[in-house]
């Protein structure tokens, strides 16, 4: 029996655990006794995280499409096909006709290398990753207001706060070990406001549960700020000494009385006022949010409102406060930190800044492209239009995860070359011209950065199956196959040394400093202890900027033809496109099929019974799913998880993007429903 101390591969909470293996096969998980986040506990996915690793479906050899079929190939042939294929597309259609998607499931080192590969080896800034679909609104909105797009505070702050305001986060299901800390805080006397129109578990513990309409967050938050200013509850000293633009904000919210917001939000005016007073009067208050805020065509404005609200009440830059976006994937924070973004190098350094570019050009030995590349969602649109012709996807499964599945499929099928690097033959990999088999989290070393910016060590427990290799090894081999010799490393720690040398917020990070429980960035030199709380004394951008916004409704709202509002998300037992959790015995058993939550009154009207089959139709597609009758959703609203390829929620969703973050509006689309049996 061997024991390996490592990191859970699921959400951004970043729990650490021991993987137990016996003769090269994983046989169990034990929680870390002392980890500052998980504190001896885990969620059900963590407890079962070992279980998919040895699944018979794992990819074990490279596959190359020949005569229409994917057939086994040598690594040499597969890598040569990819390198030559991508270059051939570029020769025919230009440098920016290919695009790379990195992975929030991959390590920091691997994200860094893929962006280096895209920029240095293939000369394009077309590199992005799934943060585009989850927290791109946060990165834009918080950079605009605070100067840094990351969670401001630490998970430990929950123990020290007077009030928690959760908006658009089903925390106990999606960040379970953070959700439980909130439950404990409430038990110990903290107040809790939950704004979510589903009756999530946290709502049962809340002092106030605001079931505002999907997509009405700006109206709710503006009205809360209006009450705070009208009643003199804002912190004038903080506003004067730490911020700018207050008068513009005050002007923008002046007309947003709770009475005006009430019909838009579906709330009573006094509920809004009560929430405003409760939040503003707390000595310290933390806001937690997630996809319910970001995945809207006005996601960036939602984030701005949250930042404004926190600054208005001086709830930034202290323990027990802050604006705390909960990052979904285990390493989506790291994917962003590492510059797997079309406009930024690692550490949020701008590609269009000549000084920055020069630094990277010197380090990497070559000329780098100047203009920002395509965000993932626009790259998919470009593929559909025929201007992007080659795509390299590492650990991404857009056939299931992108909005408007028919559009995503058509885009992928129209490519001259699609390369997918993954651990299973996903729905997307099945469309690929070349499939590269990758090692999973348990089969490699590296680092992940959790939602509170904690950079932690991932350790290899078992060998990858067959000929599968770690993503970083594959990327390095691909760079060599493409004729670049600047990507040779003995291991991930050497890659981190290069990252630290080029990335100021990671400058003090080295593997020997990360045992046992990591460091929180910014960590700017070898003696720096890390930073649990951002914006202390000074915002990352200097003064915090109040950013007024204008209310915009969601782009597609229910009407006579499509009378239901569909909102999508995840369930507790599954992860994203189900590649891992649907191959995990216990998790699969708990939720084995696509379902839709529907209010019993709606179901009765339509003749749909609990467990019966419903057909859902939107302007983009039609699917069937099992009906789950529950008052957790309000009448007129349907909730569906997007994990299931059969009954794919994203066949229905709307590919309408936020104009600044280019995030799709996963949380609001219009559908109609009928009974199907």
């Amino acid at each position: 029996m061997k024991r390996t101390f490592t990191i859970c591969p699921y959400c951004g909470t970043g729990c650490m655990f021991h993987l137990l293996s016996d003769e090269g096969r994983l046989v169990g998980v034990e929680p870390s006794c002392n980890h500052p986040v998980s504190r001896g506990g885990l969620c059900v996915k963590g407890w079962n995280a070992f279980s998919f690793v040895g699944h018979p479906d794992r990819l074990t050899v490279p596959l190359v499409r020949k005569e229409g079929r994917l057939v086994p190939a040598s690594w040499e042939e597969a890598l040569e096909t990819v390198a030559a294929g991508l270059k051939a597309v570029q020769e025919r259609h230009g440098k920016d006709s290919i695009t790379f998607a990195s992975s929030a499931k991959a390590t920091n080192e691997e994200n860094y290398l893929l962006m280096k590969l895209a920029r240095r080896v293939f000369g394009t800034n077309n590199i992005d990753h799934c943060a585009r679909l989850c927290h791109s609104s946060t990165v834009v909105g918080l950079k605009d207001t605070f100067g840094s797009g990351a969670m401001t505070n630490s998970i430990d702050c929950i123990d020290k706060t007077d009030l928690v305001f959760v908006i658009g986060s089903n925390t106990t299901e999606q960040h379970p070990l953070i959700g439980t800390r909130i439950i404990n805080a409430v038990r110990n006397g903290a107040r809790l406001i939950v704004a979510d129109n589903r009756t999530i578990r946290l709502a049962r513990h809340a002092d106030l549960h605001l079931r505002h309409r999907n997509g009405s967050d700006v109206a709710l938050l503006m009205a809360m700020m209006q009450v705070i200013i009208a009643e003199g509850l804002e912190n004038r000293e903080f506003i004067a000494s730490r911020t700018e633009g207050f008068s513009l904000l005050a002007e923008s919210v002046r007309e947003w009385s709770p009475e005006r917001a009430a019909p838009l939000t579906g709330l009573a005016a006094d509920e809004i006022a009560a929430a405003a007073r409760l939040y503003a009067k707390a000595g310290s208050a933390m806001i937690f949010y997630s996809m319910g805020i970001t995945q809207h065509s006005h996601g960036v404005d939602n984030v701005r409102c949250i930042a404004n609200l926190a600054m208005l009440t001086a709830n930034v830059g202290r323990e027990g406060t802050g604006v705390n976006p909960l990052r979904g994937q285990n390493n989506v924070q790291g994917g962003c930190d590492m510059g797997a973004l079309p406009d930024l190098y690692s550490g949020y350094q701008n590609v269009s800044d000549p000084k920055v570019r020069e630094k990277f050009e010197q380090a990497w030995g070559g000329v780098l492209p100047e203009s920002p590349g395509l965000p993932l969602t626009l790259a998919m649109n470009a593929a559909a239009l025929g201007t992007v012709k080659g795509m390299f996807l590492m650990g991404e499964n857009p056939v299931i995860s992108d909005p408007d599945q028919a559009h995503a499929k058509a885009a992928l099928k129209s490519l001259d070359l699609l390369v997918v690097q993954d651990i299973f033959l996903t729905e997307t990999a099945a469309l690929a011209d070349v499939v590269l088999p990758a090692a999973c989290f348990a089969e490699k070393d590296g680092t992940y950065t959790n939602t509170e910016r904690r950079i932690q060590l991932l350790h290899k427990a078992v060998e990858p199956p067959g000929e599968a290799r770690a993503d970083w090894e594959i990327i390095c081999s691909l760079a060599a196959a493409a004729g670049y010799d600047g990507m040779k490393y003995e291991g991930p720690s050497g890659i981190m040394a290069e990252i630290a040398s080029l990335t100021p917020v990671y400058a003090g990070v080295s593997y020997d400093r990360l045992t046992p429980y990591g460091l929180q960035w910014p960590c700017t030199d070898a003696a720096h202890p890390g930073t649990p709380v951002l914006h202390r004394g000074r915002f990352a951008r200097g003064r915090g900027r109040f950013a007024p916004v204008a209310y915009r409704p969601s782009s597609e709202t229910p009407d006579a033809e499509y009378p239901f509002l569909l909102t999508t998300g995840r369930t507790y037992f599954h992860w994203h496109t189900g590649t891992m959790t649907r191959r995990t015995h216990l998790l699969d058993r708990e939720e084995r099929r696509a379902f839709v939550e529907i209010h019993p009154d709606d179901a009765a009207r339509l003749g749909i019974r609990d467990g019966g089959i419903a057909t859902l139709t939107s302007r983009r597609g039609e699917i069937t799913a099992y009906a789950k009758l529950t008052e957790a959703v309000p009448a007129g609203v349907l909730f569906m998880p997007f994990h299931f390829s059969e009954g794919a929620a994203n066949a229905l969703t709307n590919n309408k993007l936020d104009p600044e973050s280019h995030i799709p509006e996963f949380k609001v689309s219009a559908v109609r429903v009928r009974r199907t049996e």
Partner: protein, 332 residues
């Protein structure tokens, strides 16, 4: 009886590795105290119950049962020697030994359990040097910390053989004060859990109570997975080409799918019912079936539960909420 200086523990356990597969609490390089081999880190017997259940040595989270076309169930090369059970853990072990042999003999369990040597750890070896009552003869031998040395007390023949390898003799009288201390009253949790058991068996706990408790349950399943007397498992078949592997893995009564019938109906279809079942099983159902409560107060579920609804915490809530009513009912 013999004794060992703390500094000699590592050499002692290391010397046994030629004959045994030795499992002992060790400190990992990360500073985590876990079950390991003497080579993985220094043995640390003190510190109380380990996070993981020690019975996992015999009943691991996942294990292969058989595979078509190849031999799986090979016998272990060496018998296990497991030190690190607290005396309460040994009561749990005795409980599941009986469970796995009652009526039928679970040969998968006994392929590891049979021939294993089990050592208890007690004395001033609890968390922060707290006192752990002696086992009173459970297991093959016992390591009792008197504050300066480990007194090694053999109980079985296997225990005596191991103790014989130690040179330093401990006078019989050295154990006396520790036995005396052990005889002092039980800790408060024993009374609490007995009282809660009584209230459950006399049906004094209403459904609304379980709904309230269940509101805090996130179904992490940790309470079951760390419990040394939880023995439920699921079965999984994986097909690799023309070969099929069957394995079993820990399961949890806190999961909706655990009790779901093939028809789709579920007799434990609500969170409240499942939460009730978890506590009721240990404190009432097992007491009826086996004549004893199957929680031996190892403390693990209370430590692992992220929201504080382990069995002792819930028992406290039961006694606080309904204890008076029970007393009044008894007086009527």
């Amino acid at each position: 009886m013999k004794f060992l200086h703390p500094g000699n523990l590592q050499a002692f356990f290391q010397s046994l590795t030629t004959e045994f597969d030795v499992k002992v609490p060790v400190l990992t390089p990360e500073g985590e105290r876990v079950f390991g081999t003497p080579g993985e880190g220094p043995p640390v017997l003190s510190g109380g119950a380990l996070t993981a259940k020690p019975t996992s040595v015999f009943f691991p989270q996942e294990e292969e049962l058989f595979a078509t076309g190849r031999e799986v169930s090979k016998p272990a090369e060496k018998p296990l020697l497991v030190a690190g059970f607290t005396p309460r853990d040994l009561l749990c072990l005795r409980f599941i030994d009986r469970f796995f042999s009652d009526g039928f003999r679970d040969d998968i369990y006994f392929r590891r359990r049979e021939g294993a040597v089990v050592a208890a750890v007690s004395g001033y070896s609890g968390t922060d040097g707290g006192f752990v009552r002696l086992s009173g003869g459970e297991g093959d031998l016992e390591f009792v910390f008197d504050g300066s040395v480990w007194i090694v007390v053999p109980y079985s023949g296997a225990g005596q053989r191991l103790a014989a390898l130690i040179h330093d003799e401990a006078p019989d009288s050295s154990l006396a004060p520790l036995l005396e201390k052990s005889a002092e009253g039980d800790n408060e949790d024993v009374a609490i859990i007995n009282a809660a058991s009584g209230l459950l068996m006399s049906d004094m706990v209403p459904d609304s109570f379980w709904e309230r408790v269940a509101d805090s349950c996130i179904q992490c399943t940790g309470c079951n997975l760390v419990c040394p007397t939880c023995t439920c498992f699921g079965v999984r078949d994986w097909r690799y080409g023309d070969r099929v592997e069957r394995s079993r893995m820990w399961d949890s009564c806190q999961l909706e799918g655990f009790m779901r019938e093939a028809s789709g109906h579920n007799p434990l279809g609500t969170e409240a019912l499942r939460t009730r079942r978890r506590i009721h099983h240990k404190l009432a159902a097992d007491r009826t079936k086996w004549g004893e409560i199957s929680c031996f107060l190892c403390g693990r579920c209370d430590a692992a539960c992220p929201t504080g609804i382990g069995i002792v915490s819930v028992s406290r809530m039961i006694v606080a909420s309904f204890g008076d009513r029970a007393v009044k009912a008894a007086h009527r």
